[in-house]
């Protein structure tokens, strides 16, 4: 099912939760809403579900205006951050509940529930009660309930946020597979850029009630339309600095400059914002086309296989993320190497300058 927001605005009292939004989510497939808390993700989901009505504008499903249609008539299922299950039903009845409401025959229910339970590895837990299960299993029940209903639209509101790191990884991996065969349109909200990338599909980045970009997830990550999307879609935070373009070169400061890429040679001389992702700042010159920058180390975080070095470059707080273990003391001076071919440039309106 395709979903379309047409000039949708959502206001509550004097607060605007969603500013005028036009957005079209394609039929089938995974759509991710990515943004920090209070960026409007949940509001968008609730508008799609029909739990809330837009203050103005329209919502269209498959070319039909559904703006006033109540949630019961929308063929929607929703999974929340909290594990919401019926505590006095066992797993089987929990999964079967939407089918019972829809008056499906009990033979059919049994067949469907067992199939879904198998997919979600709940098949040997069908007789148990939610309180006897772990968080991961409880959330699986909620997901199973969304799956069994065969809704055209499945909404997932940060479904993995309350789970352990490893469980999150596991379910995140399974999720696209589970929904792949159903033909449902899935909308999934998250605060974590990595999660969006792992889920794939399409991603809309949200910031303070505005959709700043929508497109294929990995493309949106590589070429964000604007600085806001670049910031939202980066973990660790993307490094930015003001650069001056002069005579075909970009200048970070007096000492550091580099040749502008061919496509940007003709760009007007001015001040621009440059952004570079942490993993394109390295501690060695292994990658061709990298330039040296002097930096002062603020803190080095070393995980088992990588180093995250927080540095000060000309008063900018930057982060470098690189393979291997590179211990530093706070205050050390070091040089970092920036892959200039990976730099993104934004104009004064914070829009990406494309070649």
């Amino acid at each position: 099912m395709s979903i379309e927001f047409r000039q949708v605005v959502k206001r509550v009292d004097s607060d605007t939760h969603i500013y005028e939004t036009d957005l079209r989510l394609e039929q089938g497939g995974f759509n991710v809403l990515l943004g920090t808390t209070l960026s409007g993700k949940t509001t968008l989901l609730r508008l799609m579900a029909g739990l809330e009505a837009p203050s103005s504008g329209e919502i269209w499903f498959e070319g039909k205006n559904v703006t006033g249609v109540p949630v019961q008539k929308r063929s929607v299922s929703m999974v929340y951050q909290q594990f919401i299950n019926y505590p006095n039903f066992n797993v089987f009845s929990n999964i079967a509940s939407p089918l019972k409401v829809a008056r499906v025959s009990s033979a059919e229910i049994k067949k469907k529930v067992e199939k879904i339970a198998g997919l979600l590895k709940l098949d040997n837990l069908l007789g148990r009660y939610p309180s006897e299960l772990s968080g991961g299993q409880q959330q699986r029940i909620a997901i199973a309930r969304a799956l069994v209903k065969d809704s055209k639209l499945v909404l997932l509101d940060e479904p993995l946020a309350n789970l352990d790191y490893k469980l999150r990884e596991e379910l995140r991996d399974e999720m696209p597979k589970l929904f792949a065969d159903t033909g449902s349109t899935v909308v999934y909200s998250t605060t974590e850029p990595m999660e969006a990338l792992m889920l794939g599909g399409h991603t809309a980045t949200l910031h303070q009630g505005r959709v700043s970009q929508y497109g294929v997830t990995s493309e949106g990550y590589r070429l964000p339309d604007n600085l806001t999307s670049a910031r939202v879609f980066s973990d660790p935070p993307i490094n930015t600095a003001e650069v001056r373009k002069q005579g075909g070169r970009f200048f970070l400061n007096q000492k550091v400059s580099w040749l502008a890429p061919r496509s940007l040679r003709g760009l007007q001389d001015n001040i621009y914002t440059m952004a570079i992702r942490p993993h394109h700042l390295l501690l060695n010159a292994d990658k061709s086309g990298s330039i040296r920058i002097d930096a002062k180390v603020k803190i080095a975080e070393l995980s088992g296989s990588e180093s995250v070095i927080h540095v000060d470059v000309d008063g900018n707080d930057w982060v470098s993320e690189c393979h291997g273990i590179h211990p530093f003391d706070s205050g050390d001076h070091t040089e970092i190497y920036m892959q200039v071919d990976r730099c993104l440039y934004f104009d004064q309106q914070q829009q990406l300058i494309r070649g």
Partner: protein, 359 residues
């Protein structure tokens, strides 16, 4: 300041009637050196919070003893252990200002106001709270409140250890970065022992010098982040640390050579035990595509921006591999090889010593 030692600690919560006693902690022996930055890492229900509460004295262990600098503290009350703790959900005294919150532990200990003030100001400065000192604590954001909780520990001059119980749970992802590196910076500044409990490997590995991995009430490995990454002593550690976790495949011992799915691996166990069944473990970072090697089918590739995760299948077994940005993934007849320096053998879940052998 003290060196903390846990000796033969076991703990079980009172069982309900008719149920067998379940040990939440099975025999833990662990030393926390003075001034160290430790992480206690494990999935929920592994006993890490129980262990934390035993150190802080909020729980008395069923068996075993807690020593601070060789002195038995098992029965000593929380307040006399001189510890500080930061909880999952920020605890602040709502009716007090930030200043009063920070001064509270000192006032309770009968310190003079004139001594309290410089101390509180110093700590507030460290935590970037100076500007909100006179604001009501209830009005702060979650990360501000969490800083106050930490500040109440830092402010005390006599603290033996500061413990963190999943302190970043309610913090927004983009602020987690800041608070996490702030904690690390503070550790370097004040040098107090810190123990950080979490299920999140990134937090644990980046914060700690030594990580204690727990699983089902036991400590399965203690080591530096590098050791845990390169030489997981137990398959659980291999799986739990690293994202995606370690690939595990069945493996056989044929003529003093480990064979995985019919391919000689080039390693063997050092001390021959004549056991037949092994598992071979290799991290996704150390599996690479090559012209020779084990033939596989490519299932899918996830583009994570910085790198790609390829999922390949051979003989019904699934492996994940990490492929750097910009590297190509062969589509036709892909074959994979393992980096032998980073390939480990496991028997009954535990790692065995290996050596390289030429076939």
């Amino acid at each position: 300041m003290a060196r903390i030692e846990l000796k033969n600690i076991r703990h079980s919560y009172p069982a309900s009637k008719g149920e067998a006693q379940v040990w939440a902690l099975e025999e833990v022996n662990q030393v926390w050196e003075d001034g160290g930055a430790y992480a206690l890492l494990g999935p929920s229900g592994c006993g890490k919070t129980t262990l934390l509460n035993i150190i802080s004295g909020l729980l008395t262990p069923t068996e075993g003893s807690v020593l601070f600098d060789e002195k038995d503290m098992t029965q000593v009350a929380t307040i006399d252990r001189h510890i500080a703790q930061v909880f999952q959900f920020p605890v602040v005294y709502d009716t007090m200002t930030v200043y009063q919150n920070l001064a509270f532990p000192l006032r309770n200990r009968g310190m003079k106001d004139s001594d309290i003030e410089p101390r509180v100001k110093e700590i507030a400065e460290m935590l970037d709270l100076t500007e909100s000192l006179n604001n009501r604590a209830a009005g702060l954001t979650a990360d501000g409140k969490q800083k106050i909780s930490l500040g109440r520990g830092l402010v005390r001059p006599d603290v033996n250890v500061i413990m963190f119980d999943e302190p970043l749970t309610v913090i927004d992802p983009h602020l987690k970065w800041q608070l996490r590196s702030k904690l690390k910076q503070l550790h370097q500044q004040v040098g107090t022992t810190m123990i950080y409990v979490t299920h999140d490997q990134t937090e644990a590995l980046t914060f700690a010098e030594t990580v204690v991995v727990m699983y089902e009430g036991r400590v399965v490995q203690v080591g530096t982040p590098v050791e845990l990454f390169e030489e997981p002593k137990h398959t659980f550690v291999g799986h739990f640390i690293g994202s995606p976790g370690m690939n595990l495949l069945p493996c056989e011992n044929v003529d003093r050579m480990a064979h995985c799915l019919g391919n000689a691996l080039g390693i063997a166990e050092k001390k021959e035990t004549h056991s037949e069944q092994f598992q071979v473990g290799v991290r996704p970072e150390f599996v690479y595509f090559d012209k020779v090697g084990i033939p596989v089918n490519l299932n899918k590739v996830d583009d994570l921006g910085r790198y790609k995760v390829a999922e390949v299948e051979t003989d019904g077994h699934i492996l994940k591999m990490i492929v750097d940005e910009g590297q190509d993934i062969p589509v036709e007849n892909p074959r994979i090889c393992f980096d032998l320096d980073h390939t480990r053998l496991y028997r009954d879940g535990w790692m065995v010593e290996t050596e390289e052998v030429t076939p």
